[in-house]
């Protein structure tokens, strides 16, 4: 078990490096530059900009420089930067995990930008997933236990509706209804718990719908299995059977959905951020890609890909706890 976790943790490093390399290549293919504007720059200025950002060097040197920055490298004698983790090693000055300065937001490092905007996305993302788990999980459980009842049909129809309405439509409808119509909640911006309600509901709708469907399917499958019959046969109460035995196996599909869903929630809150004017990471990322803010794109992709892989690892580990039949070698 421990060696499995270690192996998986170690493999995250090369995988993240490959992801960053592919991203680096992808944004290099895209036409244009971060300093492009409507008017062409005077050649002398362009040459200076290129020199400052090392764009005058051969491509392979630029690539190695980027990779060196985001992992570890020795610092140049004349280099003055506060970014990243710096320390001395055998007389060399080392620097690690420096994602550089943003090309568009002058004088701000990528690390700072991520640290500043992540909390917003993380707050609404985690709250939305929690809400989706509670609502979707409960609805799915009841639907599975009262199969073919009217509750089953109605909740599954609502879930299907949740999967069919884009959240950029749902958000404004909620704003019109609950914020502008009856002045119950603030329509946008960040401030206080009440401003979280609408974005969290909007964001959680589609996940609640997925989770309700997954829970229902998982529970139906489990309730038929032999070990549930055994548990009943040995005289356990229905509640014990349900909570101690069935639930553990029944939520496995939900658990495997959680890894990618959480990662998507942390990054993919763009729509909600735009509709509710929240300064989150998703919007920053889209703008960075559109503006060719290469360092910021690479920083966010590296951060997110590591996060995705860690979530997936946690999911894989939790399988072992949920289903004792799964073993790791």
């Amino acid at each position: 078990m421990l060696s499995f976790i270690l192996k998986r943790l170690l493999i995250i490093i090369p995988m993240a490096l490959i992801v960053v390399s592919v991203t680096w290549g992808l944004i290099r293919i895209a036409p244009g530059n971060f300093y492009d504007s409507d008017k062409p720059l005077p050649p002398a200025i362009e040459a200076n900009i290129k020199k400052k950002y090392g764009l005058d060097k051969p491509v392979w040197q630029q690539y190695l420089r980027t990779m060196g920055n985001i992992t570890c490298r020795t610092m140049d004698a004349d280099e003055k930067t506060e970014n990243g983790v710096q320390f001395g090693l055998f007389g060399y000055q080392m620097k690690c995990l420096d994602f550089g300065d943003s090309l568009k937001y002058q004088g701000q490092s990528v690390n700072e930008i991520i640290a500043r905007h992540l909390p917003y996305s993380a707050t609404i993302g985690l709250l939305a997933y929690l809400l989706a788990l509670i609502v979707g999980g409960t609805a799915g459980m009841i639907a599975a236990l009262r199969q073919n009842s009217s509750f089953d049909y109605i909740s599954m129809a609502i879930a299907m509706l949740g999967l069919s309405i884009p959240n950029f439509v749902l958000g404004p409808i909620l704003v019109i209804g609950l914020a502008l119509g009856i002045y119950l909640l603030p329509p946008a911006r960040w401030g206080g718990a009440s401003s979280l309600v609408l974005p969290v509901i909007t964001l959680s709708a589609i996940y609640a719908a997925y989770i309700a469907r997954l829970t229902r399917a998982g529970m139906l499958e489990i309730m038929r299995s032999d070990y549930i019959r055994t548990a009943r046969a040995k005289g356990l109460s229905e509640w014990t059977v349900l909570l101690k035995h069935a639930l553990r196996g029944g939520i496995i599909p939900v658990v495997s959905f959680t890894g990618p869903a959480l990662a998507a929630l942390l990054a993919g809150t763009v729509v909600v951020e735009r509709v509710f004017s929240i300064p989150g990471l998703g919007n920053i990322f889209i703008n960075a890609v559109l503006n060719r803010d290469d360092t910021l794109v690479i920083g966010i992709v590296a951060f997110l890909s590591i996060l995705i892989m860690i979530f997936n690892l946690i999911v894989d580990i939790s399988y072992g706890f949920l289903d004792p039949r799964i073993r790791y070698d």
Partner: protein
């Protein structure tokens, strides 16, 4: 005798599934709505034009009509700010939305099925490598890939794309053929199926399949592009190569690819899992023992058995691709004016939601209804093909 039993059982699998599907009221409802929607979208714009003279981009000549009117008998869905009939725009937008959904799904099917099947067939180290590649692409935010594709090949760069598409596809297929061919040099890849199924046969088959796929894809996308723009295929083809390509149309053309190329990953996983679980099952051994040929095993046993999840997943990919297209249109990256899709109409409507709510309601209700039916149909097909998961 064996041959005859084979045919009967093969036919009854699909006939059974069809019967089960028809018993599922929600799935039938989904099919009906989808059928109506398809007919409306295909012939609707012409019928509406003949009946009323409205088209998706006809702006009224009378200046007093250039205003957003609420739904009325003259304009069933109302009009937009330029006085254009919303019903005509929703019908025309449906063409593009459904086309994006269907063609991107075909692209993802073509790539995902070949990739997953080959990974599953070969197994071992190559399977491991191919699946790690999928993991890596998974970890890159798909929006980055879509935006870069749209930027690299968008606008005036589209003629480059047109000459690249066959090259990229051929390259990809050569890769798919190359892997089994290389492996075949070392060992017999088809060992578990049949001694006759050597590496050469496998690479030959995948080469033919790849070739057919390429031709089909190019043909489908070109005819789709000409359908959207309602010009003849010949004109469209010559436009491609003389770079007189409509930039907004090229954006749609690109969306087919971009969305297809980011949605094949899960398909590849589904197919691989299916092939892995099938290739060692007893019925394959049993079929071989009764003397069924390799191709008989592949086409009568393995493919029909692997097809169920693929069809189900494809049905569910269409709505998810359509949602992604709507999301891209919301960000201003999707379908560009003068063309419109349900997504871009809805995102235009949001700007005026407080004053002209019908501009949002018309496209988004139509879209939600279509996605709703697609999802129900997908669920219905899954239940019909796999009675195990059906509610006992």
């Amino acid at each position: 005798m064996a041959e005859e039993r084979e045919i009967i059982s093969g036919a009854s699998l699909w006939r059974d599934a069809w019967k089960r599907l028809l018993r599922n009221k929600l799935a039938v409802f989904g099919m009906l709505v989808l059928g109506i929607m398809l007919v409306a979208v295909i012939v609707g714009p012409q019928v509406l034009y003949l009946a009323t003279g409205y088209t998706a981009d006809a702006i009224p000549a009378d200046g007093n009509l250039i205003k957003s009117f609420p739904p009325s008998w003259a304009h069933l869905f109302g009009t937009d700010e330029a006085g254009r009939d919303l019903l005509a725009r929703v019908l025309q937008g449906g063409r593009i939305s459904l086309m994006v959904g269907i063609i991107s799904t075909i692209v993802s099917l073509a790539v995902g099925v070949s990739y997953g099947a080959i990974a599953g067939y070969l197994g071992g180290r190559i399977d491991n490598f191919m699946m790690r590649l999928v993991d890596i692409i998974y970890a890159i935010p798909y929006i980055l890939i879509v935006i870069v594709l749209l930027k690299v090949f968008g606008g005036s760069n589209t003629p480059i794309l047109v000459s690249w598409v066959p090259a990229i596809l051929t390259g990809f297929i050569l890769l798919l053929v190359g892997i089994p061919a290389a492996v075949a040099l070392y060992r017999n890849v088809g060992e578990y199926l049949d001694q006759r199924m050597r590496g050469f046969t496998l690479s030959f088959v995948s080469f033919i399949v790849g070739l057919v796929e390429t031709l089909l894809l190019v043909a489908i996308i070109w005819s789709a592009a000409s359908f959207v723009s309602s010009t003849s295929l010949g004109d469209r083809l010559s436009d491609f190569y003389t770079a007189k390509f409509d930039q907004s149309l090229s954006q749609i053309f690109l969306l087919f690819f971009a969305l297809g190329l980011v949605s094949w990953l899960t398909m590849a996983r589904v197919v691989r899992g299916q092939i892995l679980s099938l290739k060692n099952q007893e019925f394959v051994t049993a079929a071989r023992a009764t003397g069924v040929s390799t191709f008989g095993i592949i086409f009568k046993h393995l493919i029909p058995n692997a097809l169920g999840p693929v069809i189900v997943y494809a049905t569910l990919t269409v709505p998810s691709v359509m949602l992604t297209e709507a999301f891209l249109s919301f960000l201003g990256l999707g379908v560009q004016a003068p063309y419109a899709s349900w997504g871009s109409l809805a995102s235009d409507g949001i700007k005026n939601i407080a004053i002209y709510p019908w501009q949002l309601i018309a496209p988004s209700v139509t879209m939600a209804l279509t996605l709703f039916s697609l999802n129900f149909l997908g669920d219905g097909i899954r239940d019909a093909l796999d009675p195990q998961t059906r509610k006992f």
